[in-house]
Symmetry: C2
Subunit: 246 residues, 2 copies
């Protein structure tokens, strides 16, 4: 099917992403595309799409921009538990739960679509390939979360940061946001520290190690990885847990 556009600037990343799991039927993709366009919202950087404790009443799909899922402890310690990249769904069926167990905050200005429960369930009920792709996406999310536990629990700082960067590169690829060996990378060092369970100071030193080893170029919110295999080696990274179709 043709890559649909919304307001003249971007291709539809959700469909690309779901297709990376299982091919959607033309009808399914079309119905989804239409639903997405029916309510599009913009939000600035540094705001919460939804906060821990809120009742989730609809689902959201990120069309452009980056967000992070994070949890905090009373004393301010914070853990980013995942990033939300363009094309990713903020939890199919979340409205089945009574409250959010984490917050989703924007790292950049974000454009997203909101879909209400009824409309969303009609979509899923109306197309089998779509329903299955939604399950796949959910299973993949869960797998990513497991990999993060391994990353934070058992990899040392250098491996940990390298692994994170590899994962992001591989997740940007199917939605077409990788341009050659580079991608935009709008994540502050504080965010990266909170995502890896490190302190900002140590994260900074670890990045410098990666730079000194020639594994990454990271400046002005732009990441370039010349030798991705080398970075994968450094991070003990194996993409199979992402469950993208080969």
């Amino acid at each position: 099917m043709s890559l649909a556009r919304f307001d003249g600037t971007q291709t539809q990343p959700v469909i690309r992403r779901l297709n990376a799991f299982r091919p959607l039927s033309g009808a399914g993709a079309l119905a989804l595309d239409k639903a997405i366009r029916s309510r599009i919202v913009r939000m600035g950087a540094g705001q919460d799409l939804i906060s821990e404790g809120d009742r989730p009443d609809r689902i959201r799909i990120i069309l452009s921009g980056w967000a992070s899922r994070y949890k905090t402890l009373e004393d301010g310690r914070r853990q980013i538990v995942n990033f939300v990249l363009p094309g990713e769904i903020c939890d199919a069926y979340v409205y089945l739960l009574t409250q959010m167990d984490h917050s989703i905050g924007t790292l950049t200005p974000v454009v997203y679509s909101e879909i209400e429960r009824e409309q969303f369930e009609e979509l899923a009920a109306g197309d089998r390939t779509l329903a299955e792709a939604l399950w796949c996406e959910q299973l993949s999310n869960c797998a990513v979360q497991r990999e993060w536990a391994l990353n934070i629990g058992r990899r040392v700082a250098l491996e940990r940061v390298a692994h994170l960067l590899c994962e992001i590169v591989e997740r940007l690829r199917p939605v077409g946001l990788l341009e050659g060996k580079s991608c935009v990378f709008p994540v502050t060092q504080m965010d990266m520290a909170d995502a890896t369970g490190l302190s900002v100071v140590h994260l900074n030193r670890t990045l410098q190690e990666l730079r000194a080893a020639g594994l990454i170029v990271l400046r002005e919110r732009m990441l370039t990885v010349d030798d991705l295999d080398a970075l994968k080696n450094a991070g003990l990274f194996n993409p199979s847990y992402l469950h993208y179709a080969p």
Copy 2:
């Protein structure tokens, strides 16, 4: 509905668990119960139910015994990313993926049910309450995984272990495996270390701290928590992320 029994020794924990998320219809519970009974398998302790890289072709439901989901790095470092307790489903719809991204190993002898794809999808298609409960279970699993990232990434050793113990207690409660203030706890210190991202030595010392503080009694594979609120305080534990109905 009546609590069904299988081979005369145990009540049906899956239905209790799913009911903790959303009430199942009588018909849904009955159909699930029947499907579960149609193939029951036993396995000894210390074996893999399924291993990383395997193709998952059916789903499994743990009826009794404990297992763990774990991932390993080439050099042997291991992270237990979750435990699988009685009543828990080893991933609804996993067969949509082409390979497992982690292994599931038994900690004790385990009795489980196997359900093939066709039969499972008939179940989900046949009862809306069941389909929704399955999504809830999946969303809850994902939430637990996020909490583990926070636990490993941002809590110090004592908090981390306390939090793990609280979580297990709260997860055993809805399936009726909590007897007063005690439960069986068939997890070696090495397993606990791998679940918390600590070394065995340090885990051992942390357990001793918890014991010295009077927060836990743990011996002979039996855990007793006299003052659960105190342990929750020590672990900064708040059960809302489990998403059990209030």
